[in-house]
Symmetry: C2
Subunit: 480 residues, 2 copies
């Protein structure tokens, strides 16, 4: 009998081996909001005070781990560059949002999170905003995604497309694109205000279709969902317009929450919720008026909340750097957790590589660290003590533990730039609004905080950054 | 048989009648923190980012109703005056914190929440800070409390008691006092820095003893617990010093949470949790540095967070006005609720009167409204559309629904005073930092917001406020 059972078990092992292997690799759904401040979701004290409760997003956080000190770069393109590569955006030539018409984005030499996961056996789908290149060879489907539907750049472009001044300028309009790996994405429609309220609905539908298809094929998948709706102009989908009773922003919160709910429901329906990591986060802090700034527009589209943290996107303050973050992986990450340990968007590349069995390139500097042991509750600390705070290509400061040293400050996203001969030091726990310079008596803090900056600057010298706009094919410069 | 059973039931009814009557009146525990900003507790997105998790307070909120738009007056004495009387502090001559040595506080003619509840059959105990009179006839035990242990004034007084300049001034020192209704409270010890870290421990112990004694006597009770610890100077109890790893403020959060936990555990042990309303709130927004202000003190004791709201105590901004609020009454108030409906501290007097069967005086203006139907989930709206925003005796503005109209602003608690010839209008949901004046195009809002101000001003003319420092006995002026 024993021999018979052993044979049966062996046969079963053979039959179920592919499925077992597939289950070793959790699916990954990365929901990535645009200009969405720390203070927006209910799980960070937002929700109803911002215009609408976010029960599905809050529930996602309650079923997983909430990080209160998850950091990004302070602008859209740099943050997405760091997320995709695990490297400071400066290294990839993506220190700033591109404003001109020239070539920009990620050179093909870069290894993206999507390439890493594809190599590890994942089906990779992206639905949303890229902002890392809009020329041939630099679309998401050139950078590791099997398929992509979305916009190559950013959402302000939907505003000007119909302006006579723009039409007369002879500049090229932005299109919504649809692509598959191995061919040039197609331009399916102009990205104008008529489609602005509708696009995130389509992104959600396509993400759901993708998940269903891949789950049915028993294929581990990676869905990258960089939604557009929370970027200005604030235009909720007609399904949600007026529904919150608190204006368009409240309507948008309802919309996002509902779409996240649809994604989670899909995982439940497919029976793969336990095999899927869901991450909810954002690219940078909110749009909002800066100190001293007043809008006299009829309805300002620019309103967001960083919660207790100072200021907005495009500054070196916590309001730019800290974004909402929740990760759920049932059975692997304990429910109800919260931590104030520092983690950075750059860390997701090596962390997901560690979890998914992906390969982190060893021929280049990877600034991110694998924090999977921390996320899984095996270690109490993330292992990250701080990071360099960039504003564009400028080093504005250094964050170290609960402290931030500022060499420069900018009072708002279009504010005044201040440079200090003596840096200012803030304690983020005592003083979340970063107003009280406590360099004296805490002149010991720079001794602890500056070595990481010195190492970073030395590393930039040793491995020169890719110049912004470098054409493909790109090969790193030989070191001296 | 039926007759026999009926007789037994009738006998049981007689036997248990007093207990049944007692149960009709829920006990009330009102935890009232000092200078404790909206952003401090975990349930409002604070907790770990402020230095320590607050699991017991968060659990209290999760088991009851969290109000995100609970408002107070912007200073200590006015807020406590409004809480105790259900009237704007201006009416009672308590528009500002008393700084001089003269007579001040509540005249005996006022009917306090404690008097109302005592008349309704409650045992009334107060443990903590009063700040509504420190002369004979104006102590808590003169104003409806059966017993009181605490300080008559505020906690900054603990700082100067040992300063040679003060000792030489000939002014009277503040004492910790212990009193019973019907006699003059005794001064039990000077309120100095040696006792500063210890007092809230004693307040908790005495509150617990009181609850045990009254519960055992089957006597409905009202405990008013105006804790002191979160007022500067920040000095945690030795039991908590260094425990958070995040400095004294984090230690204090642990301390408060632990004390609240002890109170809740006591209710459980006594088996009266279901018969007890527990309210957790504060007198006004946090101490913190104002915009443009920098401290060069070695360790500033002044650090608090209003979360997303602008500024600090002693301003007309939401950071002063909105405080954390949670109310729990198991079986009567649904667990897990949250609401952004406007409620004001003044409303607690008529609300608790409504619940406890107390009498709201009809011979004076009561500005508070009974919001018990809203708290109990019988009505979706609180019934309060707004209120007048005072800064001291000055009308700074009017809050109406999601809007605030400012006639004056003060940029911080010791900031610059600005007066406008044309009021500024903010939308609190779009713009929690109150920076974007949207009076144009929203010139319709004053039409909706101003009638309550006009009524209020008319009412002040009809019923002149009690002059600050009016001696007892006080009788209201005859109306013309």
């Amino acid at each position: 009998m024993r021999t018979l059972w052993a044979s049966v078990l062996f046969a079963l092992t053979l039959i179920f081996a592919p499925a077992a292997l597939a289950q070793d690799k959790p699916n990954i759904v990365l929901i990535f909001l645009d200009n969405f401040g720390w203070g927006e979701p209910g799980f960070n004290g937002g929700g109803i005070i911002r215009g609408a409760a976010t029960p599905r997003i809050d529930q996602l956080a309650a079923e997983g781990l909430r990080l209160t000190n998850f950091n990004v770069e302070v602008q859209c393109t740099p943050s997405r560059s760091a997320l995709m590569t695990g490297r400071y955006a400066i290294r990839s030539g993506n220190g700033t949002v591109p404003l001109g018409e020239g070539i920009y984005g990620l050179v093909q030499w870069e290894v993206t999170m999507a390439e890493m996961l594809a190599d590890a056996g994942y089906a990779t789908g992206m639905f949303g905003k890229w902002h890392l290149g809009r020329t041939e060879g630099r679309f998401p489907t050139d950078q590791g995604f099997d398929e992509w539907y979305g916009v190559p750049n950013s959402t302000d472009e939907s505003v000007y497309s119909s302006l006579p001044e723009f039409v007369d300028s002879g500049l090229s309009e932005t299109f919504v694109m649809d692509g598959k790996k191995g061919s040039m994405p197609e331009s399916v429609r102009p990205y104008r205000l008529d489609y602005r309220p509708l696009i995130d609905r389509d992104l959600t539908d396509r993400a759901i279709s993708f998940m269903k298809r891949e789950a049915e094929a028993d294929q581990p998948f990676f869905v990258y969902l960089p939604y557009t709706a929370t970027h200005f102009p604030t235009m909720p989908h007609p399904d949600f317009m007026g529904k919150s009773g608190n204006g368009p922003w409240g309507d948008l919160l309802m919309q996002i929450d509902s779409y996240v709910g649809e994604l989670l429901d899909t995982l439940d329906e497919l029976g793969i919720a336990d095999d899927t990591i869901v991450i909810f986060t954002a690219d940078n802090g909110p749009e909002a008026l800066s100190e001293g700034e007043t809008s006299l527009t009829v309805e300002t589209a620019i309103h967001g909340s960083a919660g207790p943290w100072r200021s907005t996107l495009f500054t070196g303050y916590e309001g730019a750097l800290r974004v909402p973050f929740a990760i759920r992986w049932p059975g692997k990450i304990d429910a109800g957790g919260e931590s104030d340990e520092i983690v950075h968007a750059m860390d997701l590349f090596p962390t997901l590589a560690g979890i998914a069995g992906g390969i982190v390139p060893d021929d280049r500097v990877i600034d991110g660290i694998d924090v999977s042991a921390f996320l899984l509750g095996e270690e109490a600390e993330s292992g990250r003590d701080g990071f360099i705070v960039y504003m564009g290509n400028d080093i504005f400061g250094v964050k170290w533990q609960d402290w931030k040293l500022h060499f420069k400050e900018q009072t708002g996203w279009n504010g005044e730039l201040r440079e200090y001969t003596m840096p200012r030091l803030y304690n983020l726990m005592n003083d979340p609004q970063e107003r009280d310079n406590v360099l004296f008596p805490h002149t010991w803090v720079p001794k602890a905080a500056l070595p990481q900056l010195e190492e970073h600057v030395a590393s930039l010298k040793e491995y020169p950054p890719i110049p912004t706009g470098a054409p493909d094919p790109y090969e790193p410069q030989a070191q001296e």
